[in-house]
């Protein structure tokens, strides 16, 4: 079995979750990692040092600027037939590219796997994680996206060889016009050991400062419910849930979040969950390890203070 893994990176580093995906990949066979971008050699070097990686392919060209789904899929297709499995992350990046690869190969993609049962059988969450389906693929090449939180990160190794791979065709279908990326000193949501999330109960963008102060005290990332994002309290990239980010930190603190199915889908695999809500009946308490029925405007500053003492 030979496995091709499409790495997500920022040019210099692999994105959080890639090493987790490589753990899943190693269960399937010999792993080759494809690192493509406008500039990607540092990220390729990083990939070469992840345990289990046999070879890294590096492709650098201006046509891979931005998300570049069409051109990246076309690049993968230049080598796809050499592999039994093609994996990508179940992130906005991977979800954008992999289905194009699958359709072009006439393969039914297996989305967001959470376990590898055998080379053709995988477990994947459906219905916002309320039904775990075990599926067996009959396709000749398995195209798969991987849920990072379901696998442990792979360790390190002495560097595997890095080879250059020629760029694929430039399809010229889309023009990249730039991006607005949030800059924060805090850890990235999907990589954080601790996350403090706020919901509609926060009441305003201004009040999210309470969440941020607590997060900074804990060295935590900040998250939000959809209601908090829709209300404009926080930007979209902070949304945790079925249709936002899937997280599983060691500690998740949910503040003023009711606990809708769609929110739980994104955080219920966290190791320890704390919920702070003034409603004693809030559904979030059903998944909480510890819960506090209290007004958040009193409890959160108190908690920040208590942690300082």
């Amino acid at each position: 079995m030979s496995v091709l893994v499409l790495a997500e990176h920022d040019g210099k580093q692999l994105k959080p979750g890639v090493t987790n995906m490589l753990t899943a990949a190693a269960k399937l066979g010999d792993v080759t990692v494809l690192v493509a971008g406008t500039q990607a050699s540092e990220a390729a070097q990083a990939a070469a040092k992840v345990a289990g990686v046999k070879k890294v392919l590096l492709t650098e060209a201006p046509i891979y600027e931005g998300s570049a789904a069409e051109n990246l899929a076309a690049l993968v297709l230049t080598i796809a037939e050499q592999y039994s499995h093609i994996l990508g992350p179940a992130s906005a990046f991977g979800k954008n590219v992999l289905p194009r690869v699958a359709a072009s190969l006439d393969v039914q993609q297996i989305s967001e796997i959470s376990a590898v049962e055998s080379p053709d059988t995988f477990v994947r969450p459906t219905y916002a994680g309320n039904a775990m389906a075990t599926v067996q693929s009959s396709d000749r090449i398995k195209v798969i996206t991987v849920r990072a939180t379901a696998f442990d990160p792979a360790g390190e190794q002495g560097a595997a060889p890095v080879e250059n791979l020629a760029p694929g065709p430039d399809l010229g279908l889309t023009q990249y016009k730039g991006s607005e990326l949030s800059k924060s000193e805090r850890p990235e949501l999907t990589a954080a050991r601790i996350i403090v999330s706020g919901g509609r109960g926060m009441g305003s963008a201004e009040n999210f400062k309470l969440i941020e102060a607590l997060a900074d005290k804990l060295g935590a990332a900040v998250g939000a419910s959809r209601a908090a994002v829709d209300s404009g309290f926080m930007p979209n990239e902070y949304q945790v849930g079925q249709t936002g980010k899937i997280v599983a930190p060691e500690l998740y603190i949910a503040v003023g979040i009711s606990g809708a199915i769609q929110h739980l889908a994104g955080m219920k695999d966290s190791k320890v969950i704390v919920a702070i809500n003034k409603d004693a009946e809030a559904p979030i308490f059903s998944v909480a390890s510890y819960w506090l029925v209290d007004d958040l405007f009193k409890a959160v500053p108190e908690l920040t203070k208590e942690l300082s003492s």
């Binding site: 393969v107 039914q108 775990m132 889309t174 980010k245 209290d294 942690l307």
Partner: protein, 249 residues
């Protein structure tokens, strides 16, 4: 310009889904069904573009069982002009849906296809990208804005780090994210009007597409449940528990 929008009938997002005791799937008998929320956003976008004079006709397509006609009627009550049901009897996999759509696109020649970014039942997040690949068209997934300028469109995509802006050539496929718009409620007069709008029903065979599944569902199970938690009396107790019991801070 003509727009084609896809819609899927799914279990209502606010229903607690239950896994069948024989592990063959989830309970669907007597369960409230609705239009996939992301498809609703896709339909709403097409209707707004028609209201703004950018779009001349909206064709809405669903692949599934006969009951999906209700979903198509809802889309027509929102403002779509006509409906096409590909009566596959059951839900089919995204790849097969994309192939069926390719066949329909060949007949309809839309300039823009709008799909939801994912269906909240299967959570696959594939169909739009697959249609785009099979057509050899540009794609813009997870969009939160779209402006059409002649034969191109400017879009904003919601990505993991923030937002991305693209200009795509038309025809293209775009998939809707939550913040693209807030779908309207359908009114009774519009529901009545929708009943008179044309609805075509086609079988997958007639489109020359084999919809045989590639994935075999071996079993469906409940996720592992979390062990019961503890209510704490105050912040002091919470901090003590986190430090001494859970040892996470």
């Amino acid at each position: 310009m003509k727009v084609l929008v896809t819609v899927k009938r799914v279990i209502d997002p606010y229903v607690k889904v239950r896994v069948k005791s024989d592990g063959s799937g989830v309970e669907t008998a007597n369960i409230k069904m609705t239009m996939n929320p992301f498809c609703e956003i896709a339909v709403e976008q097409a209707v707004r573009m028609k209201e703004a004079g950018v779009v001349t006709e909206i064709v809405v397509v669903s692949v599934g069982a006969q009951q999906s006609q209700e979903t198509l009627r809802t889309a027509m009550a929102m403002g779509a002009d006509r409906g096409i049901l590909v009566d596959a009897g059951v839900d089919v996999e995204p790849l097969a849906v994309a192939k069926l759509l390719k066949a329909i696109i060949a007949k309809e020649n839309p300039q823009l296809v709008i799909t939801g970014k994912q269906a909240i039942d299967d959570d696959s997040n594939q169909t739009g990208q697959m249609i785009s690949a099979l057509m050899g068209w540009p794609q813009a997934t997870f969009i939160s804005t779209i402006t059409v300028n002649g034969d191109t469109a400017d879009v904003t995509r919601e990505i993991d780090g923030g937002l991305e802006k693209l200009t795509i050539k038309l025809p293209a496929v775009v998939t809707s994210d939550l913040r693209l718009n807030e779908p309207r409620y359908v009114t009774l007069p519009n529901i009545m009007k929708a009943k008179k709008k044309p609805m075509e029903v086609i079988k997958p065979d007639a489109l020359g597409v084999d919809v045989t599944p590639r994935l075999k569902v071996l079993k469906v199970q409940e996720p592992p449940s979390r062990s019961a938690g503890v209510k704490v009396a105050d912040v002091k107790e919470l901090v003590a528990k986190l430090k001494n019991e859970a040892r996470v801070i």
